[in-house]
């Protein structure tokens, strides 16, 4: 058996229990109770209102209010509309959805049922990242179980509501986590983000109104419906209620997932929950929310992990993937690794992103190798300016932010490379 994950609260409390992964075990812990009640006794509008009042923020990175997103869906017509669960978790530093998919598939299915009911979707797609083979297998088994039990298909739980769930596997591309690229890929096309408008709620999957929600977002829904918006708002901050799964990786003693209330201080997560940095070394910088989010220097770790506070520090919660780097880390080398990722994963559609990601990576690599100049460092900032907000999707922003933040907070590292013509960090390996 796998080592039990570290858990604290409602989303992950039972994730260590193998039985929780099957329908019987899930129901034994109170699973599907919210769906039983809501599908029969609550109108779709009531479900939507409850989630909206709960203030549930999307957990996929952008933090958009889930209930508000649902309200963009038009009234149901003869033609179908869709709910799409974004399980293409591919932000480096994020591994929360994997746990929810593999260890609590029915929790997600219950969330999907409730969300689909609220928005009037006839069918849901769970788009699972290609590398998550086990997650796809577990989800498919759960879907089959739910079908057999009458929790999916025609007349779910005798409520008159019919719903089907289709598990779809991606082919392994970071950009397919962007909701419109995901829709393209779902339709069997190349994963290129779409120009908006039209937004997915107007024209989404297969030209029909669609809502795309992250796995974790949907997993919160049964708990909100089961216990009410007020209960949900009793944890977290006023603007960012509820818990979330912080994934801590990098130079910490105890890397892993920690379900904690939103607003938990970053230093508490690193030093208490993740055990701090080993061997008496110090933190140099922390990426607070997955690779795209701007890095925070060691002096700014006393921030509460919620968007309203992180934004004051020039960063954001993103997917809650916390990457800790200790004082051995070469930040130029870090910029190389990050920029290489974005160069590899840019879909190539928009000129500024396609060319900008490559250009940044070329320059940063030169700086790391010792042939960079002071002008290069200025140019990097200019390139970031030319990319941010200049493209169809937010990928170019996601590629530019980390580089800009590394330059801002760790300019000395870059300057030293330029001055000395070499990378003098012992831990930095050959490119």
């Amino acid at each position: 058996m796998q080592k039990a994950p570290h858990v604290t609260d409602y989303l992950t409390r039972h994730c260590a229990d193998d039985e929780y992964g099957c329908l019987r075990g899930f129901e034994a812990q109170g699973g599907y109770r919210a769906a039983h009640t809501a599908l029969r006794e609550m109108t779709p509008q009531k479900i939507l209102d409850e989630v909206r009042q709960a203030g549930l923020q999307g957990r996929g990175g952008a933090g958009f209010c889930a209930g508000l997103k649902w309200s963009f869906m038009p009234a149901p017509e003869q033609q179908p509309s869709y709910l799409v669960c974004n399980a293409d978790e591919s932000e480096p530093g994020s591994f929360k959805d994997r746990l929810l998919l593999e260890r609590a598939p029915h929790q997600l299915l219950e969330g999907i049922l409730l969300a689909a009911r609220a928005i009037g979707a006839q069918k849901s797609f769970i788009y699972i990242r290609g590398e998550y083979a086990e997650a796809a297998r577990v989800m498919q088994r759960a879907v089959d179980e739910a079908h057999a039990k009458g929790y999916l298909g025609d007349d779910v739980m005798g409520s008159g509501f019919s719903h089907d769930v289709v598990v779809v596997r991606g082919a392994g591309s970071y950009i397919c986590g962007e909701e419109t690229a995901l829709l393209e890929s779902l339709e069997g096309k190349r994963g290129h983000p779409r120009v908006k408008p039209p937004f997915p709620a107007q024209r989404g999957a297969f030209d029909r109104p669609s809502t795309v929600n992250n796995v974790e977002t949907l997993c919160h829904v049964p708990h909100i419906i089961g216990r009410g918006a007020a209960w949900f708002r009793s944890t977290g901050t006023e603007k960012s209620p509820g818990t979330t799964l912080f994934g801590v990786s990098g130079h910490v003693v105890r890397p892993g997932l920690f379900e904690l209330p939103l607003g938990t201080p970053l230093d508490e997560i690193i030093f208490e929950h993740a055990g701090g940095v080993a061997d008496g070394r110090k933190v140099k910088g922390v990426i607070p929310g997955g690779l795209s989010m701007p890095i925070l220097p060691a002096g700014e770790l006393d921030v509460a992990m919620a968007n309203e506070f992180l934004q004051e520090k020039g960063s954001a919660l993103g997917t809650g993937g916390i990457i800790v780097m200790d004082d051995r880390t070469c930040m130029v080398r870090t910029a190389c690794v990050i920029s290489e990722f974005y160069r590899a994963e840019s879909c190539g559609q928009c000129g500024p992103c396609r060319e900008g990601t490559a250009w940044i990576n070329d320059i940063v690599t030169r700086v790391e190798r010792g042939t960079g100049t002071a002008e290069d460092l200025e140019l990097l900032v200019d390139i970031c300016d030319g990319m941010e907000g200049q493209t169809i999707c937010a990928f170019a922003d996601a590629a530019a932010w980390p580089v800009r933040a590394l330059l801002k907070h760790f300019y000395a590292d870059f300057e030293r490379h330029v001055r000395e013509g070499v990378c003098s960090f012992s831990g930095s390996f050959q490119l």
Binding site: S173, I175, R190, V195, P197, R343, A344, E345, S346, C347, G348, Q349, C350, G351, P352, R354, E355, G356, T357, A358, W359, D362, I363, R366, E375, D376, L379, D382, D385, G386, G389, Q390, T391, I392
Partner: protein
């Protein structure tokens, strides 16, 4: 045709302001499409763009068409920002200028700058925009990407991947217009390249339109490659003679020869497209089998070259003799569907004044499709019918019956249309006078052969399959011995002393007579015809062309 922008919409008319000038246009479509609809885009309003094209779906990826709109934060791409009433747009603000510079710098990072050897130089949007909107220098120190320089995509098109800026117009064209979808982007990020799907070639009937669409020199025409520089070319408005569609074209001329045909936009006819067969048909102008002199069959029954004037006199002598001996009823004429309305009208008058009703028209047929290509493989069959020429089959019956002793034939369509297997039947006629642009086996039975100008060498009008009359202009200066069919028959009529033919051949006068004499042409004269043509007035009772 499915087009994103070209759809005429009933939408409300709104007012917007661009750089301080007010425009009234349709609400709904994107700013670029709406400005294009009223014909000011890239004229009065200058919004540079690569990926957007009036006849293709919107892509939004090149990011060059960004503009500033009052009340909206940041810049907006004009290609997918819908027009709204009262919108105030700035295309020259500091932010726009900077954004264009940035976009162009990105696109130029890996461009090979091989303009000196690039066919596109001189008509390249990357060159033009970099010059007009780009920063003077690149700040890049990185080596440029090395990619394949010559990939044969199909019989007509060559791809240079280094020059490509990935606007994907070619990809969208193949998917949306011929719907063949041969092309796609392969690879991701800065490894993205245009390519063919495995096992296919870019060989659809419209493949070479991607060369026109390509804003840079990535897709070049194999036919035109390295033949001429863009700045040496003089472009003349014309109409393709390959089929009854009459696609509007530019005839690009250099060194006294037509170097290529390119489609000319006409939303009522061919949008911005033309088929490959039509595009390559310019080669017939200078083909080695062009007729360039007149011939008369001598005493030994051998054709010998003579002046055009002598050939016309000889033809007149023959026809006059026959009329005097046997009456006008033994004279016949076969019209060419390649000739202009004016040529055909002059020919019709010749036959009428001689006093014969024996005439016919032979139209070659071939494959047709649902896009542009028509079954009738000539540009003016509709015009010929409107002027009064009917199918040649009954005339051929009359010839078989021995009722024809003299015939004037325009062109050799009677053979290519498959009405006759060979020239044998016509050999039974005493006097065959042939007026044609190219040599054919009809010359074996002709007593007089007169060379005629090609469509590229003359002025006139043509009537397409949708009864649209369109103008052609001479792109090439023809030899003085080379006359139009109209002028030849006019001189023949003068030599015959027929009524109503004034001394000099004057095209505008012929055109006015046509408008006055043939009801469908009422009001349509060569001098008043707009450059996008005009519809024939009514259905004159003749059958419409087979599309």
């Amino acid at each position: 045709m499915a087009t994103a922008a070209g759809v005429a919409c009933e939408a409300e008319i709104v007012r917007i302001t661009v750089d301080g000038l007010e425009y009234r246009l349709h609400a709904g479509p994107s700013l670029l499409a709406a400005l294009d609809q009223i014909g000011v885009l890239m004229g009065e309003v200058d919004i540079p763009h690569y990926c957007w094209h009036a006849k293709l779906s919107s892509d939004g990826s090149c990011r060059l068409c960004q503009v500033e709109i009052d009340g909206q934060t940041g810049l907006q791409t004009a290609c997918n920002t819908p027009v709204r009433d009262g919108m105030i747009v700035h295309t020259r603000s500091e932010a726009v200028v900077r954004a264009r510079q940035t976009v162009l710098e990105f696109l130029m990072l890996n461009h090979p700058l091989d303009c000196p050897v690039c066919d596109q130089a001189g008509e390249c949007k990357l060159q033009d925009y970099a010059w007009r909107y780009g920063a003077p220098n690149s700040r890049s120190r990185e080596p440029r990407r090395k990619l394949e320089k010559r990939i044969d995509l199909g019989p007509g098109v060559v791809l240079d991947r280094e020059r490509c800026i990935l606007c994907r117009r070619c990809v969208r064209f193949c998917r949306e217009i011929p719907r063949t979808g041969e092309l796609a982007v392969f690879g991701r990020g800065d490894r993205s390249v245009i390519g063919l799907f495995p096992g296919v070639q870019l060989d659809n009937a419209y493949s070479m339109n991607v060369v026109d669409l390509c804003p840079v020199g990535a897709l070049t025409s194999r036919d035109f490659r390295c033949k001429a520089r863009a700045w040496q070319l003089e472009s003349v408005e014309g109409v393709c003679g390959g089929c009854a569609r009459g696609c509007n074209i530019w005839l690009d001329v250099a060194k006294g020869e037509v170097q290529r045909y390119r489609p000319r936009r006409n939303d009522a006819v061919n949008d911005t497209w033309m088929c490959d067969a039509g595009r390559l048909s310019y080669a017939e102008i200078a083909r080695s089998d062009r007729l360039d002199k007149a011939w008369i069959r001598n005493q030994e029954s051998v054709l010998e070259p003579v002046s055009v004037a002598s050939a016309i006199s000889e033809a007149a002598r023959m026809l006059a003799g026959l009329v005097a001996e046997k009456g006008a009823g033994v004279i016949a004429g076969i019209a060419s569907p390649h000739a202009t309305n004016e040529d055909l009208f002059a020919f019709k008058r010749l036959l009428d004044e001689i006093g014969t009703e024996n005439s016919g028209l032979a139209v070659p047929h071939g494959e047709a499709d649902e896009l542009l290509i028509c079954a009738e493989k000539a540009a003016n069959a509709t015009g010929a019918r409107a002027i009064g020429f009917e199918d040649a089959r009954s005339l051929l019956e009359r010839i078989r019956g021995g009722g024809v002793d003299g015939i004037v034939i325009l062109g050799h369509d009677i053979l290519t249309a498959g009405y006759l297997d060979d020239e044998t039947l016509l050999g039974k006629i005493d006097s065959v006078i042939l007026i044609d642009t190219h040599q054919s086996s009809l010359m074996r039975v002709a007593q007089v052969v007169l060379p005629a100008r090609h469509l590229a060498e003359k002025a006139g009008t043509l009537t397409n399959c949708d009864r649209r009359v369109q103008r052609v202009r001479p792109a090439l200066a023809a030899d003085s011995e080379l006359l139009t069919e109209g002028e030849i028959v006019h001189r023949l009529a003068l030599a015959l002393g027929l009524n109503g033919f004034e001394a000099g051949y004057d095209l505008p006068r012929v055109s006015r007579s046509l408008a006055a004499a043939v009801p469908p042409f009422a009001g349509i004269t060569i001098e008043s015809l707009p450059s996008d043509g005009a519809q024939l007035v009514s259905d004159g009772g003749e059958k419409g062309a087979v599309r």
